[in-house]
């Protein structure tokens, strides 16, 4: 008997097969079908769309990737990163090719009603909660062509729910590993914190290097109810042949506090949105981003600080280090709605170019419809390593390369130093430094 030919491309037949295989509740099946209809109704973005003007999709081969690959059962071993194996986590979730491969949650947290599990399990066992929040008010399928595709074909992900008043003291951690050689990953993270709760959560996305193009569509939905606090860090480490599209949005109700860190290290092309919607009054949010590119990587970020409620504070800092012929595009908007009195919003994008061919585009925007605000400011810089700084470091006996390393380390550290998990912070610091050392030497 011959093995079935792997189905390629995101098609109606592929969706029907997925729905049949998954055995999900009726509401989820219906949502997938509706998302597919939405997907068909939205045209593929072109260079004539302002948001896509600087990102070339001609090499994307959506019809050549497997939309629902079978899990690769050959890979074994823990997914906990080596540097973090002594860390005391409140829970750990490891997904390998969209299958749950590793899972634990402390009894204490489970007893308090914390739900931290893979999304497929959550759909089955906590359907009421998931159906209320999954791609409804935060990132609906109508958000974009790729969000709609995600809504139809999402494969697995993380569901974190913290009940009212519960404080998750120990960090929670997840690793999604996927073989993306001619295959796809559509990972969804849904975080819901009820009133006056708090949590720290870090996740990463990894795939091995290879020759064939892969596809990733990630969606992160964060919903914080009044008074809750979240510190989130997401690290993307896809292989260099992966085309990655992601939408990360936080809906923040009254008096919430959030720190959202995103670190992009891999992929051939990564296009994403990172947004905070300050719906309630008194919200405080920090958006921190770091992207490092070399070779021919193309990293495109759109950010939005959407001030709807009053007395909101948003502080965005996105930094990029680019070498080789890498290109980054940053476009950020601070939007202040009428009646968002007392808003204080800051946006900075800083780019360091380590080679002649590296390139960064930075387009900050402000749209302010309320006069009674504390202030809104934005700034962008693009430049090479300061020769004067190099000179003074070399005067102290460092080589030019050593001096460059130090300067770049100082440049990226404001993003890395706030990483909430100590061992992750240290390993990230070391990894970024090694990467930068390699590209700075080229």
């Amino acid at each position: 008997m011959t093995a079935p030919v792997a189905r390629r491309g995101f098609t109606e037949d592929a969706l029907a097969e997925l729905i049949e295989r998954r055995d999900e509740p009726a509401w989820m099946r219906e949502r997938r079908r509706d998302a597919w209809k939405t997907y068909l109704g939205i045209p593929m973005p072109t260079r004539q769309d302002e948001e896509w003007r600087r990102t070339d999709l001609r090499r994307l081969k959506l019809d050549e990737v497997e939309p629902q690959p079978e899990a690769d059962n050959k890979a074994k071993g823990t997914l906990v990163p080596e540097a973090e194996r002594r860390e005391n986590f409140g829970g750990f979730l490891g997904l390998r090719d969209a299958e749950r491969a590793e899972y634990r949650l402390s009894d204490d947290l489970a007893a308090q009603g914390v739900i931290f599990t893979d999304l497929r399990t959550a759909v089955r066992e906590h359907g009421d909660l998931v159906s209320q929040h999954f791609m409804t008010r935060c990132v609906p399928p109508s958000d974009s062509k790729f969000a709609a595709l995600h809504g139809a074909f999402w494969d697995n992900g993380v569901f974190l729910y913290v009940p009212r008043g519960v404080s998750v003291e120990l960090p929670l951690r997840a690793v999604t590993q996927a073989n993306l050689q001619g295959r796809s990953s559509l990972a969804h993270t849904l975080i819901v914190l009820e009133a006056d709760s708090q949590a720290v959560f870090g996740e990463e996305f990894i795939s091995p290097e290879g020759e064939r193009q892969g596809f990733s569509s990630r969606v992160l939905e964060i919903i914080l109810k009044p008074g809750s606090k979240l510190h989130y860090i997401g690290i993307q480490r896809w292989g260099r042949t992966v085309y990655d599209f992601h939408t990360e949005r936080a809906v923040l109700e009254r008096d919430t506090t959030a720190i959202v860190q995103t670190v992009e290290l891999g992929s051939a092309l990564s296009k994403g949105r990172v947004e905070a919607r300050l719906e309630g009054n008194g919200v405080n949010v920090k958006l921190l981003g770091l992207y490092i590119g070399d070779g021919n990587q193309h990293l495109d970020r759109y950010t939005l600080q959407d001030h709807i409620g009053a007395n909101g504070v948003s502080d965005l800092l996105f930094k990029g280090v680019l070498a080789g012929a890498a290109r980054s595009v940053y476009s950020g908007l601070i939007k202040v709605h009428p009646k968002a009195k007392g808003t204080a919003a800051y946006q900075q994008n800083r780019n360091l170019l380590l080679s002649r061919k590296a390139r960064a585009d930075s387009i900050p925007n402000l749209e302010i419809a309320e006069n009674d605000i504390i202030g809104c400011s934005h700034g962008a810089t693009i430049g090479k390593v300061d020769e004067e700084q190099l000179f003074y470091l070399m005067c102290r006996g460092l080589t030019r390369l050593e001096a460059t390393h130090l300067i770049v380390e100082g440049f990226v550290d404001p993003i890395v130093e706030v990483t909430p998990i100590a061992s992750l912070r240290d390993s990230l610091r070391a990894e970024i430094q090694e990467r930068v050392n390699t590209v700075a030497a080229e």
């Binding site: 260079r47 003007r53 600087r54 070339d56 001609r58 090499r59």
Partner: protein
């Protein structure tokens, strides 16, 4: 080592005064027809990376639709600002009813 890539049928070739965009070895290539002569250059403006196949042909030049940079179709040279870098130039011809491009 140069490779010959088949990018379509002869009937896919652009008509005089027109251009098409093809992929050859994962590189976007624009093929132009000027008075029944075919020319192929990289289909990416070296200024802001917009497709040159969407530009306006004037003589043996194409003007990028985005910011007006002009490229010589015969050599790929940027002949006017804001572009300054050659877009790449590739031999193109029709043989045995097939449109072919030679890639480095």
């Amino acid at each position: 080592m140069a490779t010959v890539v088949e990018v379509g049928r002869a009937s896919d070739a652009p008509r005089p005064g027109e251009a098409i965009s093809v992929m050859a070895n994962d590189i976007p290539v624009a093929i132009f027809n000027v008075n029944d002569e075919l020319f192929a250059i990289g289909d990416t403006c070296t200024h802001e990376e917009y497709p040159l196949s969407e530009g306006d042909i004037e003589g043996y030049c194409v003007e990028c639709a985005l910011h007006g940079a002009r490229f010589d179709l015969r050599t790929g040279d940027a002949v006017s600002l804001p572009a300054t870098i050659n877009a790449g130039s590739y031999p193109v011809w029709i043989e045995d009813d097939t449109l072919k491009v030679e890639m480095p």
